[in-house]
């Protein structure tokens, strides 16, 4: 890409500020956040509620624009883009995974995964299908193509959602409390899947408030009151697969 910089960062955030006007009061949710994410990193963004975590997530996901400061996503400055250009960017460069899965009801897993591709007119119907099947294979749901969301467990639904996030081959997967609705075992399963994707080169940004989950990532950015208070590499990455194996069997009932 022409406008990417030399370091080839996925995310470059400098002095990012976001303010909201609530009546006469101005709420400053982000007060100058700066950090970069390189390709292949697995970053967790942590913080308690009110830390600006959600606001940052919205900006990172190109759903919202910063009030001040710059945000380059894969070299593109999103501050200058229109609503439609942001939509296009979300379609091509970001894969969202939500806490509540957000699958379309009464729609098969395959069609749910195909959904982002419908908004990319360059693709034909057979391209769409092929890529969606590949994405579902990557999350080990190749046998569940025609299942409706209500025929799938929570973990399976989240895996469909991850496949949907993968299908457009984004530069970054942006997960928002993606294990928040799942029990420990299923959470670990999802984390194991994300770790596997990460090992295959996917950049993952995972927003959470659970320190437990952050242990599986390669780096943690801690937010408090709209500022970064800690940004550290995780020297001792926990393996989700191992954690899964260590879970007591009595957890199953």
């Amino acid at each position: 890409m022409n406008n990417s910089n030399n370091n080839n960062k996925i995310l470059e955030i400098k002095e990012l500020k976001r303010e909201f006007r609530m009546g006469t009061e101005i709420v400053r949710a982000l007060k100058g956040v700066s950090f970069d994410v390189s390709p292949g990193e697995f970053v967790t963004i942590m913080g308690s509620s009110g830390s600006g975590k959600t606001t940052l997530l919205n900006v990172l996901g190109c759903l919202d624009k910063p009030s001040d400061g710059t945000y380059l996503l894969d070299g593109v400055n999103i501050g200058q883009l229109s609503r439609d250009e942001l939509a296009r960017l979300r379609n091509r460069k970001i894969g969202f995974v939500f806490q509540a899965y957000n699958l379309l009801a009464r729609t098969s897993a395959l069609e749910n995964v195909e959904l982002p591709l419908f908004y990319n007119s360059a693709l034909t119907a057979s391209d769409r299908r092929e890529r969606a099947i590949k994405a579902l294979e990557a999350v080990k749901l190749a046998e569940r193509l025609d299942h409706m969301p209500n025929q799938l467990s929570g973990g399976q639904q989240q895996r469909v959602a991850i496949a949907r996030a993968l299908v457009n081959e984004p530069v970054m997967i942006l997960a928002d409390e993606a294990t928040g609705n799942l029990d420990t075992r299923t959470s670990y399963e999802i984390m194991a899947l994300l770790q596997e994707l990460n090992q295959n080169g996917k950049t993952i940004v995972f927003v959470t408030h659970e320190p437990d989950i952050a242990a599986f990532s390669s780096r943690t950015v801690m937010l408090r009151d709209g500022r970064v208070i800690k940004d550290s590499k995780n020297e001792n990455i926990k393996s989700a697969r191992q954690a899964l194996a260590d879970l007591p069997v009595t957890d199953d009932y």
Partner: protein, 408 residues
Amino acid sequence: MNFFNLIRIALRALQRNKLRAFLTMLGIIIGVGAVIAMVAIGQGSKQSIQDQLSSMGSNMITIRPNSNSTVGGGARLDATNLQTLKLEDVQAIERQAKFITAVSPQVSGRGQAISGALNWPTSIQGVAPNYLDIRDWELKDGVPFSDNDVKAASKVCLIGQTVVENLFSAGESPVGKTIRFNKIPFKVIGVLSEKGENAFGQDQDDIILAPYSTVQKRILAIPYIQNIYAAALDENSSAQATAEVSEILRTAHKLKATDDDDFTVRTQAELINTFSSTSQLLTVLLAAIAGISLVVGGIGIMNIMYVSVTERTKEIGLRMSIGARGIDILLQFLIEAILISITGGIIGIILGITASRLITVFLSWPTLVSESSIVLSFLVCTVTGVFFGYYPAVKASRLDPIEALRYE
């Protein structure tokens, strides 16, 4: 984003809610079906009245004595008892009128017709030979009577099918037989072709035609005539013919400029117009009532689309987060609304045509499904879809993806 993708997205969204889509459609189905069936009833009755009136001869002109003119002490008389029309009037019209091709006097009386052991109450009409041309009537069998029969006041007659059926046994040819009308023997020389009922439900086949001179002298014993029938050159010249006939009759009756006409001239075209405009009004009325249900159907679409936008807020948020632009969302909802209304429209058209057929078959009402009503109602329901689907679609497209995603 290509258009084909949007149609597929909209179709899938509708498939997810089949029952709701169908119920929404129902408003349009009933609306369009009602418009088509109602217009078909209106048009059908208009057409059948028009056909029947023109089958009576669309260039026919009828001249009757005016019942407003009074005799003696001011008592008004029934038109048939008025004696203002004379044979001389017929001759005057025959000689002078340029827009009239044929003219015939007419007198009529009721009585009992008898043939052998059978009898039948019917009416006899005394006319000139060219009355058949004026009325556009034909003979099925035999020959018409001639001017010589008129001069000689011959006792010959032509009879209608109803009379044939009641006076003769099946298969028996009446031509050459003699029937008696009010005890006067008439030789049947011809049988009129069947004409069925006229627009007012009268049996047009229950008739005996005889030379007017015979009826005047031998049946009614009157010197005057009751009506004059004439044929204008063609339908378009009937107005000129009417004016001309009025002028000739006023002169013949020696009316002063201040006097009212003592006769009435009516054209068939006038009659057709009167009935046409009545049934046109009926059509408009029926269509308006049906149109209201179409509008109600449209409001139904709007209502459901609004509910749908609210209910699917989270879906909209998701679609936006994975790359749908505002315009994509707007078009999706608009296409959903249009698909609902067009599908409903097509089903409604089929329903309307079927209903019209059933009405004709079971109620024997004439119906006429016009192409214009199909095209029009189809256009109306498409426009309805766009119009009532637009605002909900705009509402959907303007949602903030962040809030839409968090909507519970």
